[in-house]
């Protein structure tokens, strides 16, 4: 069984939003729902100011607080590590939304809190999800963390990586190149 992870090289992101658009089209998302977003941070002062961009989406945490608080197991962790939602079981209590430290969830018209799925149908077939395959700068790289020969492991070995707010104890599965 694979153990999926995602490596993001934020320094290459141009802020073009192609990932969000591709994701919305592929997943046929409603207007008010986004599975991934870009955070913009201004650092420094003119003339030395820089704009940092950080792509964010559901971290598919190894210790997901959203799943811990879900009363019906509508949110659950799959064996491959993907945190998934069974919409039929969801009562719409939104506890997962208040529990998530990454603001990863959006309510859809049916009042179900959706989030990035990591498109398992793509990963299982060795393909990159739409957000990754559409990116001109290859900012994202999905892969199997348990496969020593996987591209993601090779790339992670070459760089120092970090997680976002690891102190929350959620053990996110997205790694960012430092």
């Amino acid at each position: 069984m694979a153990r999926y992870g995602l490596l993001i090289d934020a320094s290459k992101c141009t802020g073009c939003h192609a990932c969000s658009v591709a994701c919305s089209m592929y997943n046929e998302l409603e207007e008010e729902v986004t599975y991934n977003r870009l955070e913009f941070i201004e650092r420094g002062k003119y003339p030395h100011a820089v704009m940092e961009i950080v792509p964010l989406q559901c971290m598919h945490c190894d210790n997901p607080p959203c799943a811990t608080v879900c009363p019906t197991n509508a949110t659950f962790k799959r064996e491959d590590g993907i945190v998934s939602i069974d919409e039929n079981k969801c009562i719409g209590c939104k506890a997962c939304m208040t529990a998530c430290p990454y603001d990863a969830r959006n309510l859809n018209e049916g009042r179900i809190p959706e989030k990035c799925r990591w498109c398992p149908e793509m990963l299982e077939n060795g393909k990159q999800p739409a957000c990754s395959s559409t990116c001109m700068n290859e900012v994202r790289l999905f892969g199997d963390l348990d496969d020593p020969g996987s591209e993601i492991n090779k790339k992670m070995a070459q760089h120092e990586v970090k997680q976002i707010i690891p102190e929350k104890g959620t053990q996110p599965r997205i790694y960012y190149i430092k």
Binding site: E39, F40, I41, E42, R43, V54, L56, P65, A67, T68, V69, C70, P71, T72, N73, A74, N88, K89, C90, I91, G92, C93, K94, A95, M97, T98, A99, C100, P101, Y102, D103, R105, N106, L107, E109, G110, R111, I112, P113, I164, I165, K168, G169
Partner: protein, 398 residues
């Protein structure tokens, strides 16, 4: 009679307006609610907490009679149980409207998640309702043996359910303002105060109502001094909690906690906090109860009203303060600055109105359908057992 018709009229109107609001939410979902992706729990969560906490508080007071044998309160137990059931049902209506898909509730049983506080809260409050109905049935039958068995169980379940409700907030690790080990204990304390506030109003109305027997009114007239002392004592405990919460919050370093407190110290929630929470819950009742000693019934009623309004606001403030501060996911990012928007829409106000009107209607219906006075069952039982009655008509040994 006329007065009762007026109460029924006002309550029915509230229920009708409430139904309009609820239908609007049913048709248009979160678009007509004050919730957003960043503030997912809205005012109906606050209203839910308000109603179920009041129900729990009423159980605490009625348990004074049946569990702790403070028989002064015997006279109110049936009425408190009825009111407790009514407020609990209205709490369920509030949460039912807030839930996006209440029909899927069946999965709480079919696919339970034992780590989720909401699972335990749902289970405990359902159990509480069922036990309460059984308790009320035996109270109506005057079967004290069974009541004495069931009453402590209802109390234990009420404490468990209310403190688990505290945990629903307290265990939200992402929200610094709620993520507090003492929140469950504070919830119990506030529930007790809510119950006392409700009973204070009930006592005043009963002492004026023409449908209540003279004997019952006489018995009620003996309660104000002890009620007043209990309210003052519990308010003092709540002040103690609050002062330490402020000290810990402002001196601590929990992400989001001090920022949320600043909303009350000098931000968007300053006016509601100081006026409605501090003023209505603490200052007004303390001043009234300490100064209007000659008219304790009136002081209690006014304090009760003030506390219920204040506690209602307090629930809203707690719900919003926990979510209004943006999560600091990427320090310095645009999304980590400013304040998350929150509001209460007319549909939500109308839904609370339904809760208030519904509580009054259920209560009046109960008064009409059942005999909620003490005399008969006590006479029968004491005559049978030959136990000693005191001059107020209460048995002190059971």
């Amino acid at each position: 009679m006329l007065k009762q018709k007026l109460w029924i009229g006002i309550s029915a109107l509230l229920v009708l307006i409430g139904m309009a609001g609820m239908i609007n939410i049913f048709l248009h979902g979160e678009h007509v609610m004050g919730t957003t992706n960043y503030v997912p729990w809205g005012s109906l969560i606050g209203a839910y907490v308000f109603f179920v906490a009041t129900s729990t508080g009423l159980t605490f007071i009625s348990s004074l009679a049946h569990t702790f044998k403070v028989h002064k309160f015997d006279v109110l137990t049936k009425r408190m149980t009825l009111a407790s059931i009514a407020t609990l049902l209205m709490g369920f209506v509030m949460i039912g409207i807030e839930l996006g898909n209440p029909l899927a509730m069946v999965y709480i049983i079919l696919s339970p998640n034992f780590t989720a506080p909401i699972f335990w809260m749902g289970l405990l409050y359902s159990f509480y309702l069922a036990l309460h109905v059984v308790e009320f049935y035996f109270q109506l039958k005057g079967d004290h043996k069974k009541i004495n068995v069931i009453s402590p169980i209802v109390l234990a379940v009420a404490v468990a359910a209310q403190s688990t409700l505290g945990a629903v907030f307290g265990m939200a690790v992402a929200r610094g303002y709620w993520n507090d080990a003492y929140i469950s204990i504070y919830f119990i304390l506030l529930a007790f105060i809510s119950g006392l506030a409700f009973v204070s109003i009930m006592m005043f109305l009963m002492s004026k109502a023409d449908v209540i027997s003279k004997k019952t009114k006489d018995q009620i007239s003996q309660l104000p001094p002890v009620m007043s002392k209990m309210i003052l004592g519990l308010l003092a405990a709540a002040v103690f909690f609050n002062v330490w919460k402020w000290i810990y919050t402002l001196s601590g370093n929990v992400p989001g906690q001090a920022d949320a407190a600043m909303l009350m110290a000098g931000g968007a929630l300053t006016l509601p906090y100081w006026l409605l929470e501090v003023g209505f819950v603490f200052v007004v009742p303390i001043v009234l109860l300490l100064t209007l000693k000659k008219q304790q019934g009136l002081a209690l009623m006014l304090s009760g009203l003030s506390m219920l309004i204040g506690i209602f606001a307090m629930r809203m403030i707690m719900v919003f303060a926990g979510q209004a501060i943006p999560l600091n996911i990427i320090p310095g990012a645009e999304s980590a600055t400013g304040l998350r928007e929150f509001s209460i829409t007319w549909s939500e106000w109308a839904t609370f109105g339904f809760g208030v009107g519904g509580t009054i209607l259920i209560y009046i219906l109960g008064e009409k359908l059942f005999n909620l006075n003490l005399e008969d069952d006590h006479h029968t039982e004491s005559e049978k057992s030959g136990e000693k009655m005191t001059n107020t008509g209460y048995k002190y040994a059971r």
